[in-house]
Subunit: 199 residues, 2 copies
């Protein structure tokens, strides 16, 4: 890796964490200079503006989340097990988070929703990827006789994403894993009792 | 109402909306001066700092949410109907929100969680009020034979708050009421089928 590329990566990794913890508006160039050890010129050499950096840093954060999810998904083949892998991704925010500061998708979306359409688009795209994973998994599970055919894939997708995002947020607010464990316990039980076809 | 009190109320009402839409860090004194029509001195006359204003503005926003909830709750006596009133509070964010910019509790909590402990405490207190309402309602419902005695009040409280908060967020991100409607439909169905005792 060339030196310029290394510097660019350091900036992205460090600011992705800062933005996730403090928000983009809550992070100053001085904060970014402090964590990267770079001068202002060294940062602007790679990113024309804080907004451009925020877009690239979201991709870095989301890349960490997806990498973790791939690890949890492998080598699960059964569709219910694959849905449980998504639950475990959110559980990991409490003990070994893919990135510090909570879920970057919800943090970014709620900061950007009234202020930054380009950044909101990134967060919306990430949520859409989760929903499509769930819908695809449910459709495949129904086809292979693992899930009840009456399962409403779109409704389940919104329900899982909403409750998991909300649960990570509650656990961060409470500084306790309990809300997340309550929600995971509810959802696991629901998937086993109402969605899985017992073999 | 005295003139000073009127001015204070105007500042609180206007900045509560600004903070809810843009975040506290994303709102400048110039923004506050623009929406209130006041000079900087006129604002500092009532609030010593933006942080002090943020704490008071949260109380204003939360006051609007609670006022709406009281309207939806009245005159429901049955405990299931009282839980449905909470669902309807969150539905109101899509058509007639108690305050513009999404749920002030989640917005505030996620902005403040790594940066502003006093403001985070306010948001945590609000969430706690919802949870206590749910737990109290469930316990009362079990006592009066309206709800199944095996209902886990604490788990249901976390599940309802997490999924409703997540649903409002998803609907704002998508600019569509559909995620919220999916989640509400799921929860209504769950309350009717798994929690209510049919008479």
């Amino acid at each position: 890796m060339k030196r310029g590329e290394q510097t660019r990566n350091i900036i992205l990794e460090q600011t992705a964490i800062l933005f996730n913890k403090q928000g983009v508006a809550g992070t100053t160039m001085s904060d970014i200079m402090a964590v990267t050890g770079l001068q202002k010129g060294g940062i602007y050499n790679h990113f024309a503006s804080k907004d451009e950096l925020a877009l690239a840093a979201f991709d870095t954060a989301w890349g960490h989340v997806k990498e973790r999810f791939e690890q949890l998904l492998f080598p699960r083949q059964n569709s219910i097990d694959r849905l449980h892998a998504l639950l475990n991704l959110f559980l990991s925010y409490s003990d070994n988070p893919p990135i510090e500061g909570g879920c970057p998708v919800l943090n970014t979306a709620l900061e950007a929703d009234d202020t930054n359409p380009a950044l909101l688009d990134k967060a919306r795209g990430a949520i859409q990827e989760w929903r499509e994973f769930i819908v695809r998994t449910v459709e495949r599970g129904i086809k292979y006789g693992e899930l009840r055919p009456e399962t409403n894939a779109d409704m389940l997708a919104d329900m899982l994403v909403a409750s998991l995002e909300g649960a990570v947020a509650l656990s961060r607010i409470d500084r306790s894993v309990q809300p997340l464990e309550h929600v995971l316990s509810f959802l696991r039980n629901y998937l086993e009792r109402e969605v899985r076809i017992s073999s």
